[in-house]
Symmetry: C2
Subunit: 126 residues, 2 copies
Amino acid sequence: MATRKDSSTYSRNEKWIADCDLTYVIAKIGGRWKLQILSALEGKTLRFSDLKKTFSMMTERMLTLQLRALESDGLIKRTVYAEVPARVEYELTPVAVELWPVLDMLSAWGSKHRQLIADTTISSHG
Amino acid sequence: MATRKDSSTYSRNEKWIADCDLTYVIAKIGGRWKLQILSALEGKTLRFSDLKKTFSMMTERMLTLQLRALESDGLIKRTVYAEVPARVEYELTPVAVELWPVLDMLSAWGSKHRQLIADTTISSHG
DNA sequence: GGCCATACTTACACGTTTGTTCGTACCATA
DNA sequence: TATGGTACGAACAAACGTGTAAGTATGGCC
């Protein structure tokens, strides 16, 4: 997005990362809000203002940025209605829907091992 | 790790994020190198110098930071041998091993939809 | 005493992500 | 002319992730 020295180690490593299917996915769905936005859109079509209400803790700017990123990555579809007070609706693409089983597994792992890791930390105090 | 204003929106939102199993996992395995380090350790025990050779594109500092983070998250086990030239070995914990089926699914999704999204982008040029 | 190798550690700087604030465009209504 | 609601956009700043360069500690070897 922004201008950057393509020759920097940072950029070179970024390309390395993008070659890996795994890190590629993490880059797409990573970040602070993307997964939560995708969750909110599961099975629903929501307006920008709906999302704004749902995620009252994030600013309009962040919401816009995340929606744009998800759109350009083909994970959500954006539909603009040329009405007087503008209306824009967002919905998941089939691609995004296919992510759910994986995300459910990830979530399950997180739930299980969050507790497990907490226990390990406590028992290692001795 | 660093000092930070706990009252900032940034921090408040961080806590919000940590409550979600999904974003929790992404935080644990996200970042530029963690998944690749975990991959390298799959089924093996490696020394610091081995990892350094494997990831010649990343600096010692980053390697150390990532290993420390993975260790404190209970994903890898660190064993120090009190020998003359220091020897430190890293291996996956059972918790991390259980991540593999999920990561394989993620990777498969990434592989499939990377191509799909590329096609969509091309066809939407008209 | 000085050098070697391993495995770090520290100080500093670059680049990105996230957050704050203010402004834009639309058109109906008052 | 001013106000209202929706969906943004731009300029700026704080915080974090990542990278660079140099230094530390150990103890055997010369």
